[in-house]
């Protein structure tokens, strides 16, 4: 079930680098709950448990990524971006995963200006993903 869609796919394709990513969808969604559940063998209780951990883990990762970027620690930022992309991909957060992948790509090219802009977009993507996951698994 696709809860939300964004225009991210057009921006991503214009910026380049994401079309060749495995699993790239031309219609990026904030939260692909079907993919998430399939990875957990359709266990809703387990999904809720993973969501709770994800909500604790992701803000920590985003904070350390922002701090490391400000401190110019490129390798640390790359590692955090990679972890965010992996975690987002696992929970079906396609939009967050795509932006994290893009951040990895610009950091590989030492483009810190672009990286700063993407970090802000990461925060926004996570907020949307958090909202969508809450609505799917914790409403009522």
């Amino acid at each position: 079930m696709v809860l939300e869609e964004t225009g991210m796919d057009e921006q991503m394709s214009m910026s380049g680098g994401c079309r060749s990513e495995p699993g790239y969808s031309p219609r990026l969604v904030v939260f692909n709950d079907a993919v998430f559940l399939a990875r957990l063998m359709d266990d809703e209780l387990l999904a809720r448990s993973i969501c709770s951990g994800f909500f604790q883990e992701m803000p920590r990762l985003l904070t350390s990524l922002t701090e490391d970027l400000a401190a110019g620690k490129r390798d640390q930022v790359l590692r955090s971006a990679h972890r965010i992309a992996g975690a987002a991909a696992n929970v079906g957060g396609d939009e967050l995963r795509a932006v994290a992948n893009l951040l990895e790509a610009v950091l590989e090219n030492h483009d810190f200006t672009a990286a700063l802009g993407l970090v802000m977009r990461l925060d926004a993507c996570y907020e949307r993903l958090h909202h969508a996951m809450m609505a799917r698994f914790f409403s009522n």
Partner: protein
């Protein structure tokens, strides 16, 4: 079966562990490559490991290299689970010693199928190790005689390096895994007991 998961990201590690536990496996978790290596080199180590490539301390590929450098009799079956999907990455991972390679995000059914392959390989490896041990045990019991034996042309005694001349059967019994039973061949019977042969009318 116990499976080691080495993955630095909590979400990925937890989802993987949950799927494996749900499928009946015991899971051991490590947060970096050094911890994974420590577990795999410890006592009662898991026979199957799923390693992420990019991890702090020691990455999954280097952990594979170090495991294979040990040249163990029963090495673990290692699956590299990584977002690196280029052909050169697959080659590097397998060349480092991984037995299998799976790209993230994974399909849990495909992952379980690959784990089943790993279980079959581990079982075959264990069976082979048992057979080799049995063969070595059997070989240790087998005594063989080879070389040139000095034998007396008349009494047929064998010259022993340590104890002088010994009866043929004593010598062979001491140097080979055989025992002798004693009897009399017809020719010797006629020669040694001619009266007995005449009495019973044997030929």
């Amino acid at each position: 079966m116990r499976i080691l998961i080495a993955e630095d990201d909590w979400t990925t590690r937890s989802m993987l562990a949950a799927v494996l536990k749900k499928s009946g496996y015991d899971v051991v978790e490590a947060e970096d490559g050094a911890e994974a290596l420590h577990v795999l080199q410890g006592d009662n180590a898991p026979r199957l490991a799923i390693l992420d490539w990019m991890m702090p301390e020691l990455d999954g590929v280097e952990a594979c290299r170090q495991m294979r450098a040990n040249d163990e009799d029963n090495p673990p079956y290692i699956i590299l689970l990584t977002s690196r999907s280029r052909g050169c990455d697959v080659v590097e991972g397998l060349d480092a010693g991984a037995d299998d390679y799976l790209v993230k995000p994974y399909d849990p059914n495909e992952l379980l199928a690959r784990i089943h392959v790993g279980q079959r390989i581990v079982a075959l490896q264990d069976a082979l190790t048992d057979k080799v041990a049995q063969l070595q045990e059997a070989m240790s019991r087998i005594k063989t005689l080879h070389g040139i034996l000095p034998i007396c042309s008349f009494c047929r005694k064998i010259r022993d390096d340590e104890e002088g001349w010994r009866l043929l059967e004593e010598y062979v019994s001491a140097h080979a895994d055989v025992l002798f039973s004693h009897g009399i061949c017809p020719e010797c019977l006629r020669k040694q007991y001619p009266d007995y042969v005449t009495e019973v009318g044997g030929s």
